[in-house]
């Protein structure tokens, strides 16, 4: 009986995400379910535009949680990702304190006592009051939990990865002056990567590893259906099967789901009843992002359209 529940809740994840317009494959749903159950981050890898970032957004929307996003880039460091001291505020307070110094120290009979009093004030300067929380610390401090999206982790330096390790395994950060900040409610962490750089084993080990590739034809049709509601069934089938043919070519950048959706929108806008040679030629630049790719694909357009139409008739 206990074994019946998990698959049911995996379906619940699937339908929950679907309600937000995110059509998840079974593997994605399983990953989201497991991440919740064993409190582990998910590392999502895959080509650009297959919905890695969208997944985080959909989870946040579905669970009604705030989403905190940290965009990674080369040179990202602690001060921008974790926390920073509010120097200006500290400085201002010192100035104010300077005037009050006499009053504060006035009561101290000896130098030693005065020093001790000063030490107490010193600690005040490195307190929560003067910490400017950046995305990671913010995520830990959300009382209701949140979805923390660490986007394009492969763009950051290797050092930054090690900075993340504490958060990823224990949902806590150590600030030397303050001590350890533990998450109020463990956030759901999604890391995305385009595999531009190989990530460290330590990071990978702390995460569930999910690879999102190009979706199967059926799934992609459902995605288009949910994202571009105005599109006719015939056109949807044709365009998706056309794109699947294009993906078999050896291109610099294969069209991914986001391009599919864009293209579907364009086709709806142009009120194309079905795929035609002219329409495809005119809009190929929505699908393919390099001149060389467009050139490579152009000669194949007619055959692909023919194939797509044929497939539509039979299946």
């Amino acid at each position: 009986m206990a074994e019946n529940r998990p698959s049911a809740s995996i379906e619940a994840v699937e339908s929950g995400l679907a309600a937000q317009g995110y059509i998840a494959s079974r593997q994605i749903a399983t990953a989201v379910y497991l991440a919740q159950q064993i409190e582990k981050p998910i590392l999502v890898e895959g080509p650009a535009g297959v919905g890695k970032t969208e997944l985080a957004k959909a989870i946040a929307a579905w669970r009604g949680m705030k989403m905190i996003r940290l965009q990674c880039y080369e040179g990202l460091d602690e001060a921008k990702a974790l926390y920073e001291w509010k120097y200006a505020k500290q400085l201002l307070y010192t100035q104010i304190l300077k005037d009050k110094l006499g009053e504060v120290l006035g009561g101290a009979p000896t130098l030693e006592a005065a020093l001790n009093q000063l030490h107490d004030f010193g600690d005040v300067f490195f307190s929560k009051e003067f910490v400017e929380p950046r995305p990671l610390l913010q995520a830990l401090e959300q009382p209701a939990g949140c979805v923390l999206l660490i986007d394009e982790i492969d763009k950051s330096d290797a050092e930054f990865e090690s900075l993340l390790l504490e958060i990823l395994s224990d949902f806590q950060v150590t600030i030397p002056e303050l001590g350890t900040v533990v998450a109020v409610a463990p956030p759901t962490v999604i890391l995305t990567s385009n595999s531009e750089r190989d990530l460290g084993d330590a990071l990978k080990r702390r995460c569930l590893h999910l690879h999102i590739g190009f979706p199967e034809q059926r799934l992609e049709e459902r995605i288009v259906e949910s994202r571009v509601p105005g599109i006719s069934q015939t056109l949807r089938k044709q365009m998706v099967s056309f794109i699947h043919e294009v993906r078999t070519l050896d291109l610099k950048k294969l069209p991914s789901v986001s391009e599919t959706i864009d293209w579907a929108r364009v086709l709806v806008l142009l009120q194309a009843p079905e795929l035609g040679h002219e329409v495809v030629k005119d809009t190929l630049n929505v699908l393919l992002k390099y001149e060389a790719d467009i050139e490579a694909a152009s000669p194949q357009v007619s055959t692909f359209i023919a194939k797509a139409t044929r497939q539509n008739v039979f299946g």
Binding site: E3, P6, S7, I10, Q27, K40
Partner: protein, 458 residues
Amino acid sequence: MRENLHRFFRAARGAGVKLSPAESIDAMRAVSKVGFTDRTILRDTFLLTLAKTQDEKKALGDCFDLFFDQPEPQSPPKDGKADEQDPSGSNAASDSPGDSSGGDEQAEGLGQLAQMLLAQDRSQISAAIANAASAASLSDIRYFTQRGIFSGRILDQMGIQRLRDDLGNLAATNPAVAERLTNALDGLRGTVRDTVSQALTLYGREEAENLRNEILRNAPLSRIEPRQVEQMRHLIRQIARRLRERYSKPRKRQRRGHLDVRRTIRRNAAWGGVPFLTAWKRRHRDKPKIVALCDVSGSVARVSDFFLLLIHSLHEVVDDVRSFAFSGHLIEVSDILESKSPEEAMAEIMSKVGFGSSDYGNSFDDFEHGWMSAITPQTTVIVLGDARSNDLDPRADILRRIAERSKRLVWLNPEGRMAWGWGDSEMPRYSTFCTVVRQCATAKQLERAVSDIVASYQ
């Protein structure tokens, strides 16, 4: 089931998925949440928790399918045998183990295994095999050479000794039953053999591959059999990838140096030494430049083949590589190597300059006239060849000039040191001008040599 999970983890390691204990704990936690009933969810769970790359996911998926389909396929062959024996043995079966009242004098004298085989109870037999297999710790199997040992152990566990005694006795008293039993035993042997083979594919894949690679790595490149050439290419590419991983990282990390205190103070003198502007020491590093001269004459062709392949797989670390090939005369082959697939490139190079008898003097002369300017004080020049110049003028003077122009001159010789200087080998004369001279006859030595060259630029 826990036992089963552990065996699966071991199988996964065998399939080349690197699994740490922490990961297996995660997987077990995850499995405890999803349960075992739904095979596809279980499979997804393992893929999510254990595999960390796309390749690993594929290997693990295959391993999963193989592992969880394991118990079934053993039965069918047994089935066939049982059927064809049934008519002849049906009356014997009726008075053997099943009913103890009738012919128990026959069953009584027999050992457990004999009784089991005569009873033809498939599920009982496969259970017994499984038990014996785990008693013989079959999951420790790593190499195909261990197949016989493990089969033997399993059969011993099942009590084959007793069965042999039984057979000996039966041959005298009841030849019909003895024959049935012999047939059944053959069937059992087959099944056990299958079980062991399957275990080998599950648990031994990685080890077997490692072993094969290790042998290959130490095999002389010049004497590789044709069927091994493709594996060797694969191995060389692996080596190149490893070198790339090792040497492309630190270059990036060392970009920031230490604080240059003296320059910082000098620069900030205007502010009374308060360091507003900082100056950083930067370690100057040469960009790797490699010029490779490869002898492709018949005797060393295969070695230089692999060498060129390695050099060109290394392009991501070493931007500036120029390769030349020679036997009687010398040509530049950088473009050929870069634009063509390895097989085509090698074929073309060989057709242009390969297989002739080598003339080092003439080839060096070609190089000096054509490309001497390619060598700068940052260049490492690598010469690969056996230095056998067929008693022609070795032109060691050109090599000296090459050495003077370059950062380093490395000579890789596929022959052993013992052979240097014997016959027409000009090695002693050349080696005086070389920074490093090495024997380079196996993939391992090749890797070392190239690794050292790249490391010298770090």
